[in-house]
Symmetry: C2
Subunit: 355 residues, 2 copies
């Protein structure tokens, strides 16, 4: 169990790192942010910031030597960087969680290996692979690079067999995966935590609405039957235990008449868990810090209904009006330029009085 | 109304400055701390720290030039420092609030001038003054330096006329004030805020228990009748309006059968307001930042019963046990050495489910 005054190293200085830094300070810890970009949002509330690329092994080693434990706000950290860090300090959540979430095929094989249901999928390494896979899975389907953030190359929808050539060209030869579409009524996510002692705590599932590929709102409670709610929590717990996970994990689930289907997992605090800041005694950020610091997990039971709304791009202009709404708690990220699609902050709209 | 990205200058880098910094970040502002001591607690969560004494006018001017508005976490800022700062940037709360709270006689004359009741008092400039004053006010009484923090010289209790010579010598010739003892059943405090637009918001009064001159616990709700509760809020509002105050103010009140007696006022966020972090949508720190930034005040209505307990000195050893209590929210200040009497953190123990 880390003592107050210990230093938590955080890879990534965006808004998640920012809110993790604040949570660390609340428990008496200091945050040291490692971030390639200058003036990261987390820098405003961190004890220390290292500005260096993930390829700078000397900077990574100096960072590791200055901290007591290492965690991260995003999963796309290069393997060589992790090797350098892990030689010096524990990384929580562990390498296996990171490796699985960086690689879509490994993730799906891990999940189905646990007996969980994912969308039908097939690895694709060539146009011929893609045609075979589409024949099996059927259109519509979506082709994605197998690795996350592979030079920013994106995704391609395939509505019919005629789309295969163009879709495959979009991948620029990168190893890919074809995923079948799922007929789901809505998406929920479970934010769950596991401590160093193996104890597990799950937050109440939230219901997510996306717009243009970006999370727009998360609402708690989600529309789920009691058995769906229980299934969602058990799925998250099974994943945490299988990975010997330490920290907070986000699990996105599609709700279908045939049950819950795992969309993807994120080995970190998650945008769809921001509602916990107003809905729970211990929010996802403090819960994550407690876990990686080896503390006992905190009380994550929900005591309010909350709608979390992301403030994206020009939404920042709504802040004066939102600041006047009594039910709204604002969380702004201190980002300078309100570019389209950029997450500038979020607003938690709260209904209290439930027990 | 300050825009996100603006810089809030905060004089003082203790735990109050630390929690003000976090609140500023939540609203998208950056905090710049001015603090003579090295490694201040607020430095862990501030965008920038200036380490310089209050006599360094060049450092003060550079600080002022780098911020958009100036506030403070403690009231004992030298006049020359304030003069230098005020020439460059607005100071909120204003100079008059500071001047009054720095000088006990001015404070009492201000309060009684508003029609409020204080303990009987008399200015004392000599032993003869003291003897005359004691004859009028009666023993027991307490002799205090008229100015706050006058070289750390303290206070002297006078239980009988025989104590006057020793008491006066304790003051070392400093202008002083004799205060009569009040027979009070308990002490409460009101944390109140006033916005730049003149709107006022008061938190529910808390009941304070001190030990050895240090606040030990604050409990909400306080033991007050409905009319006492109303009186307490009206007293705070009268003070705020009379001072054309902007920010959060703490008012300590003695509860007596004859009504509420004002003990003292503090022109800043106040230890007895820390319960608001778990009891209100907008806590005293965010409320203060909202006010000094010219935002509308937030919702300070109470939605939980809370007992705030200060963790003082060796109490820090109780943190592992407190971290396991489900009803407890911990707030640690990141201070290195747990000296006796040093405030290391606080714990808010919450009873939810009230509306």
């Amino acid at each position: 169990m880390l003592e107050p005054g210990a230093v938590i190293g955080i890879l990534g200085g965006g808004q998640l790192g920012r809110m993790l830094s604040v949570a660390a300070s609340r428990l008496g810890f200091r945050a040291h942010i490692y971030e390639p970009g200058i003036n990261p949002p987390a820098g405003d509330v961190a004890h220390r910031v290292t500005t260096a690329p993930y390829e700078d092994l000397a900077a990574l080693r100096a960072f590791a030597a200055s901290v007591d434990v290492i965690t991260y706000e995003f999963e796309n950290v290069p393997t060589a960087a992790l090797d350098a860090l892990e030689a010096l300090r524990p990384i929580r959540p562990n390498r296996r969680a990171l490796a699985i979430s960086q690689e879509r095929i490994a993730e799906k094989e891990f999940l189905t290996g646990l007996g969980l249901t994912c969308a039908p999928f097939a690895p694709v390494g060539s146009l011929a692979d893609l045609q075979t896979a589409l024949a099996r899975i059927g259109a519509p389907a979506i082709l994605k690079t197998a690795r996350l953030g592979y030079d920013g190359k994106g995704q391609a929808r395939i509505m019919a067999a005629a789309d295969t050539v163009e879709a495959w060209e979009t991948m620029q030869g990168a190893p890919s995966v074809l995923e079948g579409f799922i007929a789901f009524s809505h998406e929920v996510s479970v934010i769950a935590a596991r401590g160093l002692d193996g104890s597990v705590a799950c937050y109440d599932p939230g219901e997510n609405v996306h717009q243009g590929g970006i999370l727009r709102t998360t609402t708690v409670p989600a529309r789920l039957s009691a058995s769906q709610r229980s299934d969602a929590v058990l799925i998250a717990a099974r994943i945490l235990n299988a990975l010997d996970y330490v920290g907070v994990l986000g699990v996105e689930l599609f709700v279908t008449p045939q049950g819950l289907i795992v969309n993807e997992i994120a080995p970190r605090v998650h945008n769809s868990g921001h509602w916990t800041q107003q809905g729970c005694a211990v929010d996802q950020f403090e819960q994550h810090i407690r876990a990686v610091a080896g503390w006992t997990l905190g009380d994550g039971s929900r005591f309010a209904d909350v709608v979390m709304e992301n403030l994206i791009g020009d939404d920042i202009a709504r802040v004066p009006a939102l600041a006047r709404e009594r039910a709204v708690s604002l969380h702004l990220y201190g980002k300078g330029e309100a570019r389209a699609g950029r997450k500038m902050g979020h607003a938690n709209r709260v209904v209290r009085g439930i027990t």
